[in-house]
Amino acid sequence: MEKELESLITSLKSELKKCTKEADILNVKSKYVGKKSRIAEIMSSLKEMSVEDKRKYGSLINNTKKEMENIVIDSLESLESKTNIVFDDTIDYDVENGSLHPVTIVAKEVTDCLKKMGFTVVNGPEMESEYYNFEALNVPKDHPARDMQDTYYLDNGMLLRTQTSGNQIHAMEKYGAPLKVCSPGRVFRNEDLDANHENTFFQVEGMVIDKEISIENLLYVMQQILSEVMQCPITLRLRPGFFPFTEPSYEIDMECTICKGKGCATCKNSGWIEIVPGGMVHPNVLRAGGVDPEKYTGFAFGIGLTRLAMMKYKISDIRVLNSGDIRYLKNFDIK
């Protein structure tokens, strides 16, 4: 009896192995576990067996039937796990991708970081008046920056802004103090083009005005922003600089991340890289924005986004950025 039961399982398995379609399995199923199958016969003969045999074979026969049924179910399931649609699944198409301009990506990184610090992003016009671009920013009439050689003047008495700093005035006029704003945008300088010089590039301006803002606050904010943008801890130093719209003015240098301040080709052996100009907002600029310098102080800074993008992506020729050449731009994808 045991032998027969064993051989039933073995031959069920071997027949199922040959099945490739659901119908074949069902045929095998009715043959082996159906009403007229051998196991059914054995089951029904069970009641005619002696008490002793019943005790001996009862559970064995029952278990065998269950096992056979499970084998059939497994076989059906394993067939369902495969599709019967046949195609070449090794074909591998290239995916098309769109792209954002590298400056857009870098601007997003910088403004995201400023936004996290509570800065709001404001906008300003590219065609600007002399007042907002120079006068309100405390740039004196005979300052070299105001020469035709440096600034694009227009035949309608306006000019193309040479800096995003004019947005300091727009923002103060619109929103008053206290204020934490940043303003990314396109600026224009009358320059001849070469690998390092463009007449059209991007900056982001930042400004904070509040009661009792100190030079140390400027240092703190720059440290935060730059370590976030550079994705590593950085060391900064302030160095005296001169810009008409800030007093005191500073060149903010970053310790060279390549040589860690020891001196290398990237930092021209000085150990430091000049990275952001900034300073405390000049009282004349606050006044021009309608903010009382007796009550408020503040700081401002300007980050060169185009330069940052060139550093980040190791772009050696600035001209490709405004070329619109997709062969070049598509490499930058989305982020």
Binding site: T120, M148, I215, R239
Partner: protein, 775 residues
């Protein structure tokens, strides 16, 4: 600018105590950027002063001599020398055997058969001048056997300071000003300059200032009986180290004063000076400067005139005829001060930037003109003890610049600094820099020296800068701002721009480009399009500001057709329309001509999708009456949202497209982004959906020739049934349009008879409108 540390040292009491090699890192963060620090003179050694005691022609050479030189040792030494100026009695520089020049060891070796032990050296060989015409000639009183490094300031440290970082510091354009900074940084004492006393007991010189707004001061002095025009060696070395050529004592001294005090000076030959007048040139005049170049003048150029002739371009360069002649024994010294802006403009206009103009354009202190002359005379007298002052120190100074006071409030200082410093510390810092300080309870009364007042120190923040840098910027700690949790989202345009850009780049695989705000002149020419608009002044090319963003991208389209047969680009940029800035989103779809319908339809879908996704708004398109000649007159749509025009879709017309590229199609979308930003997205409220299933029914309608979907749309909109959940166009083939209806009821599952009923009514409606339907 190059700076000699030997010179600085001479102006500072106990200056030798300063670490001159390492002070410059501190100088960089206190004052101005240092670009390089270099030791000079350290490549030579074992060079002494020697006297030639015997000089015989080399028997085997046409120019060499065999010398015996006395260098203070017991026996004279035999040296072979090729210099032409060898002679008995000459004291020169002799390098001993074993000594070094340029780091190379000098050995005994035969020259044309005669042994030479060491050698006699020229200035160039010692690295202290360019002169290689002969060996050095020391004065007759030079002590034989003395190391030349003890006799002359050959060992020095030369520092290069970035000129740009001195833009705002007119006082630092000479060694004396730098020495003052170093003295203040290292807490040393600055020594006063030795000056000659000049008694004004003679005649004034004839000097007139015509334009006191442009020439603030002109100081002149005539000096006679000058016998010696030879520059002492130590001054020659200094000039050479800081990048100037030694010419003659009179000229060198004017340069020396400029390098020492920052005051440009001029020495004229007294014999040619008649009557000095400072005034503007006349338009169209020409003048030949010292460098022999004829310059065209304008009425904006300030000139020095002698009699009725031009004598020099004020503050920039003298003329050919103002050059000192070697046979003169009388000079006229000029020391003047001019308006910085005027000098800069003249120098820029003439393309002639000189050491003098570079200094004048920084706004020099007018109070140093007379000091410079007194200093020069003091130095001149050392070489010419018998000189005679032949005129009064004539000083035309219409409006004297007086020292001014600034009140510095302690409260403001403490806010900026984030800390409180003692009165003593502040007073000391400022006084070291030349300020005078009176301490009050809440403030300091600070007198600003005129050498700081012309440009950079005007308000109390300027004094704060001085204190902060002297305190040490490296001592500041980064301190966070006070916590402020006010929401200050003022403008959303930047976020919205990014949102749109991201959607276009990800959903439609488009490429963002950045372009220029002006039209590319060549592309306009190529396309035969003329643009009028706001123009850049002083430019003849690329000078018209764009008033159509998409069209301004055509040069970029042109570039990309060279590499791609189809592509999509976009930009959000500024155009100038009616003299106003306008922000525009432009999308350009470019493909082969045969695909024009595809990209045109795609343009419409993009616009619909954009507004649907980002603003939850439906777009309607109306026909565009295009006034721009380069766009197709029949194609093109106006984009409307909430019954307001938001932009246009245009197709570059065939003629214009052909000039760009053959058999191509270009579709442009321009959306007014200023308006886009102001649209508040609609919030659609939740709607109940039926619990009964819906049914889809497709109908294909055949449209008569010449009719468009618009007609069908109208017909469909007139068909009403309360079973309609929605319907849409799902496909077209030739003149056949397939419409899909989704039907359903909120109260029951639709039965066959409902559908049949709907179908019959629909077919009837279509037929009533003289259209046919595939049943």
């Amino acid at each position: 600018m190059l700076i000699s540390c030997n010179k600085l040292k001479s102006h500072i009491k106990n200056g030798e105590d300063i670490d001159w090699l390492n002070i410059w890192d501190t100088f960089t963060i206190r004052t101005a950027e240092v670009e390089g620090v270099k030791k000079v003179g350290d490549q030579i050694d074992n060079i002494v002063i020697a006297k030639i005691v015997e000089c015989i022609k080399h028997p085997d050479s046409d120019h060499m001599h065999v010398l015996k030189v006395d260098c203070g040792e017991e026996e004279p030494i035999q040296v072979v020398c090729g210099a032409p100026n060898v002679r008995v009695g000459l004291k020169t520089a002799y390098i001993k055997v074993g000594g070094h020049i340029d780091g190379i060891e000098i050995k005994s070796r035969p020259l044309r058969g005669i042994l030479s032990n060491g050698m006699c050296c020229s200035g160039r060989e010692l690295g202290i001048s360019d002169n290689h015409d002969g060996i050095l000639e020391f004065p007759s009183d030079a002590p034989v056997g003395t190391d030349v490094k003890d006799y002359l300031p050959i060992d020095d440290i030369i520092v290069e300071i970035d000129n740009k970082s001195l833009t705002n510091r007119p006082d630092l354009w000479g060694h004396y000003g730098i020495a003052r900074e170093i003295a203040a940084i290292t807490d040393h004492e600055l020594l006063p300059l030795d000056l000659a006393e000049i008694k004004n007991d003679k005649q004034d010189l004839d000097i007139t200032i015509k334009d006191p707004n442009l020439c603030y001061r002109y100081t002149g002095l005539k000096v006679d009986n000058l016998k010696n025009n030879k520059t002492p060696l130590d001054m020659q070395i200094f000039l050479y180290y800081v990048g100037m050529r030694s010419i003659s004592l009179f000229v060198d001294l004017t340069n020396y004063l400029m390098l020492e005090l920052g005051q440009p000076m001029h020495a004229f030959d007294s014999r040619v000076v008649k009557k000095i007048e400072v005034g503007l040139a006349s338009d169209g005049d020409t003048y030949t400067t010292l460098d022999g170049i004829e310059r065209k003048l304008t009425k904006d150029n300030l000139m020095i005139k002698n009699g009725d002739k031009y004598f020099g371009i004020a503050g920039v360069m003298g003329g050919l005829d103002s050059e000192i002649l070697s046979d003169t024994d009388s000079i006229f010294l000029e020391s003047a001060n001019f308006n910085a802006g005027s000098i800069r403009k003249t120098a820029v206009a003439l393309g002639l930037r000189t050491e003098a103009s570079a200094r004048y354009e920084k706004s020099l202190d007018p109070n140093m003109t007379d000091v410079a002359i007194k200093r020069l005379v003091y130095l001149l007298e050392k070489e010419n003890p018998d000189l005679v002052i032949a005129s009064n120190l004539t000083d035309v100074y219409p409006t004297k610049l007086e020292e001014g006071d600034i009140t510095l409030h302690k409260k403001l200082l403490n806010i900026y600094m984030g800390r409180t410093l003692s009165d003593e510390v502040i007073t000391n810092m400022l006084e070291k820099l030349g300020f005078k300080v009176t301490v009050n309870a809440d403030s300091y009364e600070v007198t600003v020296p005129t050498f700081r007042a012309t440009k950079d120190v005007k308000i109390e923040q300027d004094l704060i800068e001085e204190i902060a840098r002297m305190y040490g910027l490296e001592n500041f700690e980064a301190k966070p701002l006070k916590l402020d949790l006010t929401i200050t989202e003022h403008e959303t345009i930047y976020n919205q721009e990014y949102e749109v850009k991201h959607l276009l780049a990800t959903k439609y695989d488009m490429h963002e480009v950045n372009s220029y705000i002006w039209y590319d002149t060549e592309t306009l020419k190529k396309l035969g399009v003329e643009k009028t608009g706001v123009k850049l002044l002083g430019k003849s090319e690329n000078n018209i500001l764009r008033d159509d963003l998409s069209f301004s991208l055509m040069n970029i389209v042109d570039t990309n057709f060279k590499n791609y047969h189809k592509f999509n680009i976009f930009e959000i940029g500024t155009i100038i329309e009616n003299n106003e800035n306008k922000r525009i989103l432009s999308i350009v779809l470019a493909d082969d001509e045969k695909n024009i319908e595809t990209i045109y339809m795609q343009a419409k879908s993009i616009v619909k999708y954009l507004f649907k996704m980002l603003k939850n708004k439906e777009v309607t398109f109306t026909n565009n009456v295009n006034e721009k000649s380069y766009y197709d007159a029949s194609l093109g749509k106006v984009i409307n949202v909430d019954n307001t025009k938001l932009g246009e879709i245009n197709v570059l017309n065939k003629g214009t497209t052909n000039k760009l590229a053959k058999k191509k199609a270009i579709v442009c979308i321009d959306i007014d982004f200023d308006k886009y930003v102001t649209i508040t997205p609609t919030t659609k409220l939740a709607t109940e959906v039926s619990k009964y299933p819906t049914v889809e029914l497709d109908y294909t309608i055949i449209m008569p020739e010449g009719t468009k979907y618009d007609t069908l749309k109208q017909v469909l909109s007139e068909f009403k049934s309360n079973l309609i959940k929605c319907y849409s166009l799902v496909g077209t083939y030739e003149n056949k349009y397939t419409i899909r209806y989704i039907l359903g009821s909120n109260t029951k599952t639709l039965e066959q008879k409902d559908l049949t009923n709907f179908k019959d009514r629909f077919i009837e409606h279509i037929k009533n409108n003289t259209l046919s339907i595939i049943e």
